[in-house]
Symmetry: C2
Subunit: 220 residues, 2 copies
DNA sequence: GATAGTTTCATACAATTGTTTGAAATGCAA
DNA sequence: TTGCATTTCAAACAATTGTATGAAACTATC
């Protein structure tokens, strides 16, 4: 094992390049050049290109999920097992948004890598990705506890829309800036978070404030 | 020109394969095999692989935009130059959702291709994609006319969120089905359209029903 | 300081990719 | 039919990719 220097240099370079340019057009030769190591080092340390990607994704996936669950657990414990829906949604979309948006220099490579992974899903990632469903299920559970009158289906849709707004805004941030001629300030991350959270909250609570009623009609 | 048979067979096969498997892992050999034509035919008729993709994208892009604008124009003319925001949003997200979701057999290859193009944007598409901004600007204009009291920034955010929900739902439809254990019915396209439209409408009108007031505070 | 195990390196390999080539086939006008 | 342009085809080409190899360099233990 010795220094591990080569190994971690590869991981860092790969994550940076994948985050910037996507999996499609980053070759092993690009990675080793960026890392300043030999081409054969990748196969020596990771076995194959796919295993490198998988290791990268697993590591980051665990970290991101832990971050989100930490916020969620803290909120629920504080509220005696039930957190306000806004807080839950903030725990869901906040970390990713904060990691990907914001002033240029503080953008997180890890977060941008995860967004790439969620977009152009390559085989090694696709194989692992199913686990994330369990993670989302925990959020769905918390949301149902926060909105007991709400139908299960509506909660899933709200969760889906919250992730939709967060991810899409990240992916298309450049286009939104161009479309709005800079008027939408994507560097003001907390403003973006609040916009997403507030719309998702409305989607989950509108037309159903206190009522106990059947399912289908909701969220209209 | 003669029959054009080969040319259109290539276009059809390419669109189908790209829609199904993405640009990343579809080779020219896959396409010509599917089309039942010779490998060299692609370069003979289109010049290069990139030009084939570009032609496909341009054709579909024009058709999709025309479809959306047709709905929009019809609505605005009927309302004397100003359509209700719900109708505008339906014109924006309806065609794409209807094309991509719904019972297996009636899903549109064209719509799925366009979603692929919006996801894993390859160089030839990226070069053209800027034009779509002009198209979105027309929708932004109609939305501003429908919501004159609303700030410009809020309208752009509403537009962004509407597209976000539509596209994300299409992209992650499989995951939503799995997460909800089939309870979210993605075959009921009109239900999905109404959900997206209603949430986007709320995002654009909440907390600002009749008031004439400054910007920032909105959509909270 | 010799030796065994680990890591790095230049280089080669095999497979796949988009593209080109030149001949054969086809269609069409005179 | 003849002649000419268009279209199709099998085959080869050149470039790029991930991977494998075997020797060299290094590290640590005795």
């Amino acid at each position: 094992m010795a220094s591990d220097h080569t190994r971690s240099a590869i991981l860092a370079a790969a994550e940076r390049l994948y985050a910037d340019r996507g999996f499609g057009d980053v070759t092993l030769r690009d990675i080793v050049a960026e890392a300043g190591v030999n081409l054969a080092a990748v196969n020596y340390h990771f076995g194959s290109k796919d295993e490198l990607i998988a290791e990268l994704f697993v590591t980051r996936s665990i970290a991101t999920n832990r971050e989100r669950l930490r916020e969620l657990k803290a909120a629920e414990e504080q509220g005696g097992g039930r957190a306000p829906i806004e807080v839950i949604l903030r725990a869901l979309v906040g970390p990713t948004l904060r990691g990907c948006l914001g002033p240029e220099n503080q953008r997180s490579t890890a977060a941008r890598f995860m967004i790439r992974a969620s977009i152009e899903s390559v085989p090694p990632i696709r194989r692992i990705k199913n686990r994330e469903i369990d993670h989302l299920r925990k959020f769905a559970g918390a949301m149902r506890r926060a909105l007991p009158e709400r139908s299960e289906v509506d909660v899933y849709w709200g969760l889906n829309f919250a992730l939709a707004m967060a991810h899409h805004t990240i992916r298309e941030s450049e286009r939104l800036t161009k479309l709005s001629e800079g008027k939408c300030d994507l560097d003001d991350v907390e403003d973006v978070v609040e916009r997403v959270v507030s719309v998702a909250t409305m989607a989950l609570t509108a037309g159903r404030t206190e009522v106990k009623a059947p399912a289908k009609v909701a969220a209209r």
